[in-house]
Symmetry: C2
Subunit: 293 residues, 2 copies
């Protein structure tokens, strides 16, 4: 089964587990709205790719790890879109969860998605429970305090912030959790895999800043110009568009170099290159650096 | 060490794990504000008492389970107090988290508390990882879909609701998770322990409805009359104060009967009786039934 089908199937199963007769239907619908149809699913793809490169001896656990990472990502989007944060009317080209279901169900849907991430790990962890303590620790580190994505979001509420710390937590942490969790799910040593996730996550955040400053809302499927409007730390604001593109190229190169020697090395490098081109196509990068010059 | 000290120490450790240098300080402060000083800590007490009654062969795991249950309870309070739900200005006699730290940090603090619950289980689960899949499943069932406390809260957003289903999910589910998790943490059969948690949880919710209808905000440390004002299902509204007190007495009696045969049976019954008297003192129950007659 191709990775994208494995991911969609696993996400479907995770949500179905919460839909027994007698559940509150609007909350379950809000949760589905947040997860399907998805975006690029890059984090779970990365997680499965790393598990594959490490032998993937427990595919159910790898899928559970990928599911957990993606559900946590979806949860963060739902809460980030709330009126008190971005007040985003759209996400992935359709109404955001709070616009479609109201603010209360959006708060609860985010909460439930976090819980279902760990429910998925409980279900997937029966064959190799001895892997669960480290896997849980890796996944929670990607989202909580001190350095996970909730911490990254919280830096927006602090009077002073270092851009790189902010971006590393806000995006890099969950990418690092994705690579580490993929390795741990396959029973491998996770330390070799952290750097790949961190570099790619940072590249992803820089690409997000570039699109926020240059794209239209129709292209992105979500509001643009928010970082500037909300006075948020942003690399385009700090270093200009040219600086941002140069930094992006460097980060993708660093991610390529960070792929450790393994059986799936070539496939992983190809994934990183494909993602780099998808995030900031060469033509756009050239255009931006030329117009900024 | 007495159970209350074990619980406070374990909660301190769980929060300290998120406070490494470089964390966003206001978010960490909001998380602390939500957890300390605590309320009655009845759910973690119940969890530890059941673990004790089952032999408590892994005290670290029992404390992790109790911590997870209490952190999830605290998370639900922070999110329930948000402007879009109860808009409560106070909680446990001090400003609610969103009043003290703002709405954004309150959303994030709730999210982080959910994550830290599972972080605690990861840390506490190293000696008996084979217990983690069921323990995780029990804890997540208490809070997520289809029947956990988030589902209970979501029933407030549905056009029609059955009072008992609503209360069972909103409060009973986490009490049931507390007893089940206590048994699982000690490697015991959890099925015998569900009923105790369910009856006690339902009693707790009925007591909450009684206090919402009869107490002052100063006595409770949180706003009163909210159920009525927000048109929520409530047993006092449905059956009157006298009906609510009779139901409460019945539920406490059911909880007492539900304590299974075990070494800690007497201590557990004493805990249930003490809780019953704390929640709705006999004098108050007599006064309410007399004045309603």
């Amino acid at each position: 089964m191709p990775p994208s089908a494995r991911i969609e199937n696993a996400l479907q199963s995770a949500l179905q587990a919460g839909e027994a007769p007698g559940h509150p239907p609007r909350l379950a619908a809000a949760v589905r709205h947040a997860v399907f149809p998805g975006g690029a699913r890059i984090r779970p793809q990365l997680c499965l790719a790393v598990a594959g490169a490490c032998g993937d001896d427990d595919p159910a656990l790898a899928e559970a790890a990928a599911t957990a990472i993606e559900l946590l990502h979806c949860a963060s989007l739902v809460h980030d879109d709330l009126p008190c944060f971005d007040d985003a009317a759209t996400r992935r080209g359709k109404p955001s969860v709070h616009r479609a279901f109201g603010e209360r169900l959006a708060v609860l849907a985010g909460d439930v998605l976090i819980v279902q991430a760990f429910q998925a790990l409980a279900t997937g962890g029966t064959a190799h429970p001895q892997r669960l303590p480290r896997l849980l620790a890796a996944v929670t580190a990607g989202v909580g305090l001190p350095f996970g994505i909730a911490a990254g979001q919280a830096w927006e509420c602090e009077p002073q912030v270092v851009l790189r710390d902010y971006q590393r937590a806000k995006t890099g942490a969950l990418f690092a959790a994705a690579t580490i969790a993929g390795a741990l799910a396959a029973g491998a040593d996770a330390r070799r895999w952290r750097a790949l996730g961190e570099w790619l996550g940072e590249a992803y955040q820089v690409a997000d800043d570039i699109h926020d400053a240059t794209s239209s809302a129709a292209d992105l499927g979500k509001p643009v110009g928010r970082d500037l409007a909300l006075g948020r730390p942003s690399i385009t604001r700090e270093q200009g568009l040219r600086g941002a593109v140069l930094r992006f190229d460097l980060l993708v190169a660093k991610a390529m170099q960070a792929v450790p020697t393994c059986v799936g090395e070539a496939a992983l490098r190809a994934l990183v290159q494909r993602e780099g081109e998808r995030l900031v196509p060469r033509s756009l990068a050239d255009e931006l650096t030329a117009s900024a010059a």
